[in-house]
């Protein structure tokens, strides 16, 4: 008997559900929970992590992200304007900057700023602000390159008619940029900028390459060190949960914004 198309689709969907549930159950039943439980979900180790995994590590991660984001945004706006300039050398500088820091692994950039720059300058790193500052500078450089492209795309996505309407009302180029183009451009780039924030949050875990102090450990480094000291995976699981508590609301927020903007169009 031939199935109707909707019936076929339903049958297909239910098959997928059944297979997925079967896989989950198989993993749950075959896993050796007696061994895995104490290794990864150990209440005693978890109790030892609190509260510093939140009050030190998570707070550091958020601080580093905020600083890198703010710095990257400022530098990114500047680079985007350079890249849109009518003056050739300005555009070339911006393009070179963006291509360089987008093309390199973030960890290499951070490493270079942390160690190569002090050597090249002949000054010890501690005189240049120490590992935290140098690492953050590296992260800002990386962030600025990604954000510059996002910002440029956003500003250029504002229709030309908007500028023409503002200019025809007698508004100067500066006022047109400030009141008409930038507000609309930023509305367009809030979703990609939120994604950039999430990426940066995760990239703060690379700051360990320039060295850390006990007070400057971010989540990943904190959890890794604690994991080694306790020979236990629980701190890593806790760090993972803390990352997700921050990132999932942000990505959901982005998705919501995108849906709302799609409606407005």
């Amino acid at each position: 008997m031939a199935l109707r198309r909707t019936q076929k689709q339903k049958l297909y969907r239910y098959t997928v559900y059944v297979v997925l549930i079967a896989i989950v159950l198989w993993v749950a039943f075959t896993a050796n929970w007696a061994k895995l439980g104490p290794l990864f979900f150990n209440p005693a180790v978890a109790a030892k992590m609190l509260p510093s995994i939140v009050t030190v590590a998570l707070v550091n991660t958020l601080w580093f992200t905020a600083v890198a984001f703010a710095g990257g945004l400022l530098l990114g706006v500047f680079l985007a304007l350079l890249k849109m300039s009518s003056i050739g050398p300005f555009r070339w500088i911006a393009t070179a900057w963006i291509e360089l820091f987008r093309g390199l692994p973030a960890i290499l950039t951070i490493f270079a700023i942390g160690f190569i720059v002090p050597i090249a300058a002949g000054v010890p790193g501690t005189k240049l602000g120490g590992p935290v500052v140098l690492g953050l500078v590296g992260l800002i450089l990386v962030a600025s390159a990604y954000m510059a492209e996002t910002i440029r795309a956003g500003l250029q996505a504002v229709p030309k008619g908007q500028t023409e309407a503002a200019r025809s009302l007698g508004m100067s180029p500066m006022k047109t940029t400030f009141w008409i183009v930038v507000p609309q451009g930023f509305r367009i780039i809030i979703p990609p900028l939120t994604n950039e924030f999430v990426l940066l949050l995760k990239d703060t875990s690379l700051l360990f390459v320039v060295g850390t102090f006990i007070w400057s450990k971010e989540l990943t480094t904190f959890a890794r060190d604690a994991s080694t000291q306790n020979s236990n995976g629980t701190p890593l699981i806790m760090a993972a949960i803390l990352y997700l508590i921050v990132t999932i609301p942000l990505t959901r927020f982005t998705a919501w914004l995108e849906r709302r903007m799609a409606r407005e169009r």
């Binding site: 008619g161 023409e164 025809s168 009302l169 007698g170 508004m171 100067s172 006022k175």
Partner: protein
């Protein structure tokens, strides 16, 4: 009032030998045209004839390659002229409305008043509401452009231009992007404006409007003004073959 630069006896718009080219492509090949106070000049012609470029050259949205454009006696092609100041005297209405989508209707009407004319909030609100009343949109002052129909958006766009108290208005195919049933409300606003004595230059495909409201009709083709005269005359009795062919296709 800033009368220092205005020469009242001059034509409102005086275009002399206007040339515009993009690379090798010459779009305007020497246009001479004067528009006097209170005139409604309608410009028609096939697409690519240069009619929009001509209109956009009047307020320098297009930078002319040659020739002069005098607005109330001031040559706007002179690099020393404060173009922003001249533009406040020239209202412009676009085919695609170009309302600012991030601002309410009232915001659209007050932003340039506040930023350019330096009017107080209370005063610019008052002017905005009066202009919305004129175009029958006072009830939508707090709406956002995205919530309005095309016809409503275009009426708001006209009100926005009027808020600067311009001496003349440019219309660049103001009804071409509208659904047929919304064309009438926009033309009605333009007709009222013309009746009140506004100097207007209108690029349009609405032959009915040109015939009934226009004081002069201009037919453009290939970057030239081919024919010019009383709208009823030109439409009923075109002299050039190109004009006849064009009118046969659109009427």
């Amino acid at each position: 009032m800033s009368t220092d630069l205005i020469n009242l006896s001059a034509p409102t718009i005086d275009i002399r030998g206007l040339v515009k080219s993009y690379g090798d492509n010459e779009v305007l090949k020497g246009i001479d045209l004067s528009v006097h106070a209170g005139e409604v000049v309608c410009v028609i012609g096939p697409s690519g004839s240069g009619k929009s470029t001509l209109l956009r050259s009047v307020n320098l949205l297009e930078q002319p390659t040659g020739g002069e454009v005098l607005i109330e006696g001031i040559d706007v092609t002179d690099p020393d002229v404060d173009i922003d100041r001249v533009r406040t005297r020239i209202g412009m209405v676009f085919q695609s409305f170009n309302l600012f989508p991030h601002m309410s209707v009232l915001g659209n009407l007050t932003i340039a008043q506040r930023q350019v004319k330096k009017r107080s909030k209370a005063e610019s609100d008052k002017v905005a509401k009066a202009m919305l009343e004129r175009v029958g949109m006072a009830h939508k002052a707090d709406a956002f452009p995205g919530q309005l129909s095309g016809g409503q958006q275009q009426r708001v766009a006209i009100a926005r231009a009027l808020c600067m108290n311009p001496d003349m208005m440019l219309f660049d195919e103001p009804t071409s992007a509208l659904d047929p049933e919304l064309v009438g409300e926009v033309l009605q606003v333009m007709r009222t404006l013309a009746d009140e004595g506004m100097t207007m230059m209108v690029v349009t495909h609405e032959m009915g409007f040109a015939r009934e409201v226009g004081s002069r009709l201009i037919f453009m083709d290939g970057g030239h003004i081919l024919e010019e005269g009383d709208p009823r005359e030109v439409l009923a009795n075109p002299q050039h073959q190109r004009t006849k062919d064009f009118l046969a296709r659109v009427l």
